[in-house]
Amino acid sequence: MSHSNNATEQVLRSSGVDVRKCMRCGKCTATCPAFDEMEYHPHQFVYMVEKGEIEKLAASPSIYKCLSCFACVDRCPRGVEPAKVVEAVRLAVIRQQGQNHMKSDDIPALLDEDMPQQLLVSAMRKYSK
């Protein structure tokens, strides 16, 4: 894969996923509850990382749509763990300066009286550094 570069290696290392195990069955995408919101779907994340197309994924809002429900992780017959790839790409983006997807200033507007803390904590953790 000629696109293989530092970004790809970083994603592979950080996710710990062996993308070559994928047999392209599409079960991850079949089971994904965030399918409709995504531009690139779980199997595409795996395939595109294998091809080294990190930039396309990094630029896509799809990285914020994954619900971390682990359904793709559990149901993948090849043990590929696509959710970890999605998270690794997202991390690669938000770790860069000024790339926080959610800022603490955004929060007050989102609040409602019943909202549990864990929602804000997890959102900050998922979307910012």
Binding site: K21, M23, R24, C25, G26, K27, C28, T29, A30, T31, C32, F35, D36, H41, H43, A71, R75, P77, R78, G79
Partner: protein, 664 residues
């Protein structure tokens, strides 16, 4: 002193390209005992062998060393050539200078040196070689086939055809196996029962074939040609010789709530039953888990209605012993339990079924009499979704599935889809697939017909989740080519579950000392060249127990297996490997260390008289080896502290001479 001839093979440039063959011939020519040394382009060729034979004649050679390819390739060739000149074939040794030298080393000097050393080791061994005579053992002219499915039946019929006796041991009450449960068969769509049941009848009526149904193999002793097998004949509580199979008892039995395994538990049978109409032997069996008479002593209706007086509530298991010359494993397969795959709803939604269950739902003798009705409400399904590769092709560490392709699912799913569309054209049929694998005669054409002629919707993608949605099933799946997630409301979902070897196969393999792979398929002696033999002599493999197969392949393999069995049974005597252990009675202490490590029970002890000092007689317990039973592993030789036990052809002295030659 031996007169040894050394022959160096060039193997074209395979050896000569890296080894200076002339230098090797020259160097080995100076070794003690070597009276002739030469090199030649292809020693294994006819002219190469002639050259060797001529040298044996002219130089009165007593031993031969060939420096060539692996002994696994041509040891037999050269031994045969030598024996044609009157030299004992075991006076020939091979130095492997191709696989172990020229093919792995690039430096000519280094390779040549190593070739010389290996040649010296072979010469050192030949000096100590003794002429060996292969022994013979008799052959029991009867075969045992374990498993009475189509594989076992075909193998048994072919062996019987050649005039030998065959026993079939089948653990269920009838032979027939999985094929008896199938509706139609691909790619011809002929009815499974129509082609199988005549074979079952043939087997049942063949004079040479004895069927032990409702029986299991309990112990296997012996070796090729002379196996002794204990067979447990489980109590049927019905006298097989008296029962006429009229079926009256099965109608009158008041216990009607027993899940019918032949119909995959989708309907019930009686406690006394005949699995299906064409069963062979057609004999009733009482299910002791459900029979009221056996459990409580109250009932006895079957006994009252049986005109033949065949019912015997006091029947006991019986263990019989039979002798065989060869044994065939034909233990077959089962689909894996789909309950683990509840993302497809199998454990919780009644209208999610496996393909084998669908076979019964479509079979005229099945629970719905051949009308396709859904299990939940007996309605006709109008949308049917097939899911491929359920539990097949999983990663090695997957806890639910198997790492291999189950091979038959693509084809039977095409068959199911086609049959449903044929019978019920108003039904929409979807097949979700990863790949459609159809290598086989007329197979891809068959699959294309399903698509082109019958309009089955093949969608490349997987099903992710099946949920009960009112009376229907909501199938969530991916369509990878369209880049869509589909939500299909289906009436019936069919899972093409992976197949796995029958659970009893492993214990049978242990009894047979036959090896298995990590998936519990029997291992063949060679995956390409000896595919129907187990590495254990006299054990043969038939059908899916060796690996996933469809019916045409199973039947071909079953016949091939039969040919191999006939090859053994046709011999009056089997030639034994002469490289077996031998006990030097003068040295033996009779301590039994060797006996404990012998995997074949080849060693026995007896008290023998020896001449003691001063003309006295001593009686000593000494070991002796049955050369027909010994396979020549040598475990005993190391267990023996006194060195009395040695292995012919690989003696302590021979191996040490090789060590010495190598470490010079």
């Amino acid at each position: 002193m031996q007169r040894i001839g050394v022959f160096i093979c060039h193997c074209g440039t395979n050896i000569a390209g890296t080894v200076d063959v002339k230098a090797v011939a020259e160097a080995l020519g100076h070794e003690a005992g070597v009276v002739f040394s030469t090199e030649y382009q292809y020693m294994c060729s006819e002219s190469g062998q002639q050259l060797m034979r001529k040298a044996i004649r002219e130089h009165k050679l007593t031993g031969v060393v060939v420096c060539s390819c692996s002994p696994r390739m041509h040891e037999a060739t050269f031994r045969k050539a030598a024996s044609l000149e009157g030299i004992n074939p075991y006076m020939v040794e091979i130095a492997n200078i191709r696989e172990h030298v020229s093919w792995i080393h690039k430096d000519m000097k280094e390779a040549t040196e190593k070739a010389i050393i290996l040649g010296r080791a072979a010469i050192a061994k030949v000096h100590l070689n003794q002429p060996l005579q292969a022994g013979e053992s008799p052959v029991t002219k009867r075969a045992l086939v374990i498993g009475g499915g189509i594989a076992g039946i075909q193998t048994a019929l072919d062996i019987a055809e050649a005039g030998f006796e065959v026993d079939i041991v089948e653990k269920s009450p009838t032979i027939g196996g999985k094929m008896a449960q199938l509706d139609k068969t691909f790619p011809t769509l002929d009815c499974a029962a129509c082609i199988l049941t005549p074979k079952m009848v043939d087997a049942g009526q063949n004079e040479k074939i004895k069927i032990f149904a409702y029986s299991e193999v309990e112990a296997v002793k012996g070796y090729v040609g002379n196996f002794n097998v204990s067979i447990r004949r489980k109590a049927r509580y019905v006298d097989e010789t008296k029962c006429t199979g009229c079926g009256l008892c099965t109608e009158k039995c008041p216990q009607k709530k027993v899940p019918n395994e032949f119909n995959m538990g989708m309907n019930n049978r009686h406690a006394i039953y005949i699995p299906f109409a064409q069963a062979v032997p057609k004999v009733a069996t009482i299910d002791a888990d459900y029979c009221m008479m056996l459990k409580t002593g109250k009932c006895g209706i079957c006994s009252k209605v049986c005109g033949a007086g065949a019912i015997d509530y006091k029947q006991q298991d019986e263990v019989i012993e039979r002798q065989y010359g060869a044994i065939v494993a034909a233990t077959g397969f089962n689909p894996i339990d789909a309950k683990a795959y509840n993302e497809y709803g199998y454990a919780t939604c009644p209208d999610v079924v496996t393909s084998l269950e669908l076979e019964r739902l479509m079979n005229a003798a099945g629970p719905t009499n051949g009308t396709l009705l859904r299990p939940s409400d007996n309605e006709h399904p109008h949308t049917v979704v097939f899911v491929q590769c359920v539990g097949s092709r999983c990663t090695e560490t997957d806890e639910r599935g198997k790492p291999y392709c189950s091979k038959i699912c693509c084809m039977y799913t095409a068959k199911h889809a086609m049959l449903i569309r044929e019978k019920y054209p108003d039904t929409d049929v979807y097949v979700f697939y990863i790949d459609v694998r159809t290598p086989g005669k007329n197979f891809d054409e068959f699959y294309r017909r399903a698509v082109e002629q019958y309009g089955v919707h093949y969608i490349k993608g997987m099903v992710g989740k099946v949920t009960q949605n009112g009376k229907q099933l909501r199938v969530q799946a991916s369509d990878l080519l369209a880049g869509e997630q589909l939500h299909i409301d289906a009436d019936l979902v069919v899972l093409a579950t992976a197949i796995e070897p029958d659970k009893t196969a492993r214990s049978i393999a242990t009894m047979l000392t036959a090896s298995m792979d990590t998936n519990d398929f029997f291992t063949e002696a060679h995956p390409k060249l000896r595919p129907v033999e187990s590495p254990t002599a006299g054990i043969f493999l038939s059908g899916v127990c060796q690996g996933p197969k469809d019916i045409p392949e199973t039947v071909s393999q079953a016949s091939a297996c039969a040919a191999k069995v006939i090859g053994v049974l046709a011999k009056d005597k089997l030639t034994c490997n002469p490289c077996v252990a031998q006990s030097d009675e003068m040295l033996c202490n009779g301590c039994s260390s060797c006996e404990k490590v012998c995997p074949y029970g080849a060693i026995s002890y007896s008290d023998k008289e020896f001449r003691g000092p001063n003309r006295t007689t001593l009686i000593r317990r000494v070991a002796s080896v049955n050369p027909a039973v010994c396979q020549g592993c040598g475990a005993c030789t190391v267990a023996c502290p006194s060195g009395a036990m040695d292995l012919k052809g690989f003696s302590n002295k021979q191996i040490m001479a090789e060590v010495d030659a190598i470490c010079q």
